[in-house]
Every structure is written in structure tokens, then in C-alpha cells.
């Protein structure tokens, strides 16, 4: 008996160590203003000064509760949103299912944490998707199949739009919505694309496609809606009717939201291919190029070049004719799954499983500062 108990203890401890259970369970979310970067990185949201990479404040959710039973850590992975009023919307992706609006201009000098202006707790599912701000409203898709429309001034619920066709059907919403001013388009992991009237919140159409859509949709210069999915296809939708057709087969899953720039759409797949698709001519601008690893992040357009961060941690640049070069090579370990952000004259790249959370690069891809959190 004693041997068996010692054995079980040993197995448990060794298994925990071997399994890497303490590793990250999601990649970071990153957004920025001209002066501050906001990084949602597992246990906290960090505000980082773009001038020097110093931490301004961090937010780990509300504290309190009896710690033995109430050790319920918050999880921050959804990309924070900065409103016109200067509030930062952060989403707790743990099973607390909370949205906070924090005021970065009202930071506790001792705790170095911002004041909570309001919070929203009515959702039942995980917050994965980045919300969309439309005028003074927040459209926040949740994994419970609802898009919660909140009043940005106080967090009050204006409408919970159920996008699933029935209460039995599920609709896990992971991608950021997009709007053409009249409709809000929502994608689901349950293989569908939905249009919601931006004023009446009525579901205008609900179309099924061949694969799950972990990213969002994008509006092309032709006024059409484009969606990439795990069915390895790029589909074009008529925003008014939802009529859709596949326009491109890809080599792997399309994870990140495609980016529109002029007549071109840029996106990658998890097999590591980068695509440049011309919506006007309805063809690829050049043969898909393959950097060194999976691409889950959306590309970033900087002037004439398109930057693509890959799972290897490196950043590649592509020219209009498809010429590829390594723009930034990560030294050491790290995975770049998060879409890079351009702000304050820097390109910001967030890393998972790295010595630092965030790297700021100048226009030549030279490292200016790193942020490792506190």
C-alpha cells in the first residue's frame, strides 16, 4: 500500500513537471495607441510606455474572496480595446466571464492598477473575440452564442443578440466582428457567418460554410465580405444577402483575419503559406510564399511592405511582387501567434513562451526595447 501511494505521488509530480502544465494556454492579445501598448498576457493586462518599454500599470482583475476556495485566476488573452473616451476594455477569458472598462488616467499610485469604471458579467461563455466599437456601443461576441451590445459609457446591456438559429444550436464566437456601417458581421467557430443590423440588432442572414472560422471577416475594396476558414478556403459574401462562393483554396487552415489593402487581401495559413489575393482581378498576385512556420497572425501593412509574423518568432516582409525576406529574426525562443501592431513609430510583436512578452522594432526591423513584465 505504502509503495503504491508513494508511486502515485511520484507519478503525479513527475507528470505535472513533464507535461508542461504550467505553460501558457493561450497567446497574448495586443493593441496600442500612439503612446501606450496594451498587452493581455494570461494573468494580467499590461500598459507599456512606447517610448521606453516601461510598465505603466497592470490589471489582474478584481481581488478579494477567501483564497483557499476562491483561487480563481483571471485569464487575459482577448485583445484589449481602447475607446474614444480613453477607456480600455479588457476581457477576462476565465470562467468568470467578465468585461471590465478601466480608466488608464486614474491609476492607483501604490497598486499601479487602473480604476474599474464598469464591468459586465451577464455572459455565460468565454470571452475570446476582440469586441468592436460602433459609435458609443460595444459589440462583444461571446462563446455562449450571443453578441452582447453594451453602452460604452456605463457597461449597461443594450441587447443580447442570439446569433445561433435556436437555443439548441451552438455558436462559439472567437473572431472580431466587422461593420460596413449598416450591418455587423460575425463569424463563428460553428461554421457560420452572420449579419446583424447595426441599429435594430436583427439577424439579417445566417449562412453556413464548410469550416470553423476562428478569425474575423474583412470587407474588401469591392464592397464584398471575405472570410477564411479551417476548411482551407477563402469565401466571398454579398454583405446584403449573404450569398457566398469560395474564391480560393489554400494549403492549410486560415486562422487569422485577412487584411485588406487597396484591392489586395493578405493572409496566411497554418501550413505556413502567405497569400496575396487581388479581389478586383479575383486571382493571386503571386504564388503563395512559404516562410518558415505556421501563420496564425494577421499580416501588417507598413508602407509598401507587408509584415508577417510566424510561429517561429521571426517576422518576414513581402513586397508587392512577392519578394520575401527576413525582416526580424528572433534571438532565443518564442512563438509569434499574435498579430503585430504598428504604433508610435514602432512595430510591436508579442511573444508566447519567450523570455519577453513584447518586442518593439523600428522601421528597419531593429530591436529598440523589450518588455518582460513584472
Amino acid at each position: 500500500m505504502r509503495k503504491k501511494l508513494v508511486f502515485i505521488s511520484f507519478v503525479l509530480l513527475a507528470a505535472i513537471l513533464l507535461s508542461g502544465c504550467t505553460g501558457a494556454i493561450a497567446w497574448p492579445g495586443l493593441s496600442a495607441t500612439d503612446e501606450v501598448a496594451y498587452l493581455a498576457n494570461t494573468t494580467a493586462v499590461y500598459a507599456v510606455d512606447l517610448k521606453n518599454g516601461n510598465q505603466l500599470w497592470s490589471f489582474s482583475g478584481e481581488r478579494g474572496g477567501f483564497s483557499f476556495f476562491n483561487t480563481n485566476p483571471s485569464l487575459f488573452v482577448s485583445t484589449p480595446v481602447v475607446t474614444e473616451d480613453g477607456l480600455v476594455i479588457v476581457l477576462d477569458s476565465s470562467n468568470k466571464h467578465l468585461i471590465y472598462a478601466v480608466d488608464p488616467n486614474d491609476v492607483d499610485s501604490e497598486e499601479k492598477t487602473p480604476k474599474i469604471e464598469w464591468k459586465f458579467s451577464d455572459a455565460d461563455g468565454l470571452w475570446i473575440a476582440q469586441p468592436l466599437v460602433v459609435e458609443n456601443r460595444l459589440f462583444a461576441p461571446n462563446s455562449d452564442g450571443n453578441v452582447y451590445v453594451l453602452d460604452l459609457t456605463n457597461g449597461n446591456l443594450i441587447e443580447a443578440v442570439q446569433v445561433a438559429r435556436s437555443s439548441e444550436e451552438e455558436a462559439r464566437l472567437w473572431g472580431q466582428p466587422v461593420t460596413d456601417g449598416e450591418r455587423v458581421f460575425v463569424t463563428t467557430l460553428d461554421k457560420s457567418v452572420i449579419a446583424i443590423d447595426v441599429e435594430s440588432y436583427e439577424v439579417l442572414w445566417h449562412e453556413d460554410i464548410g469550416g470553423a472560422v476562428p478569425g474575423g471577416a474583412v470587407l474588401g475594396s469591392d464592397g464584398m465580405l471575405y472570410v477564411g476558414s479551417l476548411a482551407k478556403q477563402l469565401e466571398r459574401f454579398d454583405p446584403a444577402t449573404g450569398a457566398h462562393t469560395p474564391v480560393l483554396d489554400t494549403n492549410g487552415w486560415i486562422w487569422g483575419t485577412p487584411i485588406a489593402n487597396g484591392d489586395n487581401l493578405y493572409f496566411g495559413d497554418v501550413e505556413g503559406y502567405f497569400y496575396s489575393y487581388n479581389t478586383k482581378e479575383q486571382k493571386l498576385n503571386f504564388e503563395p510564399a512559404q516562410p518558415d512556420a505556421a501563420i496564425t497572425a494577421s499580416p501588417l501593412v507598413i508602407g509598401e511592405q507587408v509584415l508577417v509574423a510566424t510561429e517561429s518568432g521571426d517576422v518576414y516582409s513581402f513586397s508587392a511582387d512577392g519578394a520575401m525576406e527576413v525582416w526580424y529574426q528572433l534571438e532565443g525562443k518564442g512563438k509569434a501567434y499574435t498579430t503585430p501592431v504598428s504604433a508610435g513609430g514602432f512595430v510591436l510583436v508579442a511573444y508566447l513562451e519567450s523570455d519577453y512578452y513584447l518586442v518593439a522594432l523600428d522601421e528597419d526591423g531593429d530591436e529598440k526595447w523589450t518588455f518582460a513584465g513584472k
Binding site: 505504502r2 513533464l18 507535461s19 502544465c21 501558457a24 494556454i25 493561450a26 468565454l126 487552415w253 505556421a294
Partner: protein
Amino acid sequence: MKNTGNQARAQQPELPRINPRETFKWLAVIGILFLAFTNFGVVVNFVVNVLILIYRFTYESFGVAIILLTVLIKLVTWPLNAQQNKLMKAQQEFQNDKEWLNIQKKYAKDREKLAAEQMRLYRERGINPLGGCLPMLIQFPILFALIPAITYAIGSTPLSILNLSKSLYEFQNVASLVPLNSTFLGTDLGLPERTLILGFSIPVLALTAAVTTYLQTKLTMPPSTGGANDQAAATSKMMSIYMPVMFYFICVNYAAGLSLYFVASNILSIAQYAIQGRTNWRNLIPGRQKS
């Protein structure tokens, strides 16, 4: 001189004789363990694939799939556990063997002689003191792989789905699986579980894992018989306290799917012991430990 040499050899503790069959078994187990741990990712992927296959056959319920996987592992390892239990029982009985108790008294101050006599008695009773280790060791790779496999397979966050796509064999067609249904009885098995009770956020599954661990250790605790076995009983008693605490802290911080696995595994272990007639139900009553 010759006689003196023989006498000296006779005083040496008698070492266990080399048994070619046992040696082969040990080498085979060491070889399997070496292969498994140098290719640990392969073992984890295998377990993930088995779990996903079960998930497909259980109307896509991860909770049911985890429970069935636990049952499957218990069934596969049943002969090994039965062999291990048999050996442990024989060793427990040996502790109360009259001849062994007399020898312990006789050679209390001569450790070498005591060890030699113990080995002699082991041989006479057909007990292999290391025999219980083999069934344990052979299970290591699967047990080690279970924890990452459960956390990988429950794709409730983007990273877990991406990792899952790398773990699954081609025939599994991951794209058709997504989204995975990680909810079981209202709980997302991919995250640490908390249930709101009277305004408190209570980790019900982690507490259940701790309670079932306590029950398992109590019910399978060896009977206290006095003498040398008291030490074993004292150790077991201590384990019955710290094991549930350890399980609680592991479960409270990791995916609820892991807690569900521990709960199912504990209940099945109790059932296995009950079937073998080795559960001491009296141990659950304070002050009524079976002797």
C-alpha cells in the same frame, strides 16, 4: 585456511540469485521506458488520438470520453495492478509471518544477517521483493502522458486547438472536429472549474477529487497488526492526509478535465479493490480501523 574462508563466506549476507527470466523482464521494461520517454511526444499524441476517437463515439462529449478513457486504462492495466496487489498482499502477510518476527527479534542487532535471512525467507515463500515494481514501471509512460493529453485534447482556447491539430493523426480530420464540445454538465473542462454557491466560487470538482482520493487511501489502507506493520500503517495514515491536499492543489489550478479524470480514476480504483475484496470499509469510521 579453507574452512576459515568458507566460514567467512557463510557470514556474508546472501544475495538474491540471478534469475535469467527476471533479468530479461527488467531489461525489457527498461527498454520500453527508455523508448517511451525519449519519444514522449509520440506517447502523448497516441493518448490524445485515443481520447479523440472515444470523443467521436460518445456523441462528442468530452466528459464521457474522459471517463471511458479512464475505464479503458483501468481495464488495460488491470492484470498489472492485480499482480502488483497480489505481491503487496504477500509482502503484508510476510510482515506478520511468525518466523520472520522471530528472526527480527533474534537478529535485531545484526543487520547483515537479518537481510540475509529476509532474502532466504522471501525465496522460500516465493516472494520477489522487487516484483511489484515492474507492473508499476510499465504503466509510467501512459500515466505521465495522460495529463498533457487531456489538456491538449480539450480545445477550448485558440492555442489548444492549434496544438491539437499538430497532435492528431491524419485520418482524424481535425477541421471536422472543430469546434470541440468541451462542456460537461455545465462545466468547461478546458478551464479550472468553479461553481457559484451562495456567492462563493467553489471548485467542486477539485474538492470531489480530494474527497475521493481520501476515500481511496482510507479504504485501501492496510490493517494495523502491530509490530513492524504499524510503521506502514502510520505512513499510509499520513499519506491519506497529504495526498488529498496535493490532489486538491493540482486540480484547482488546472483544466477541469484533469479533475474529472482523477475523480473517475479514484472511484474505479475503489471499485477494483472492492472486487478483489481488499477494501476496509471500517476505516471510514473514526476509531474503527480494521485490525
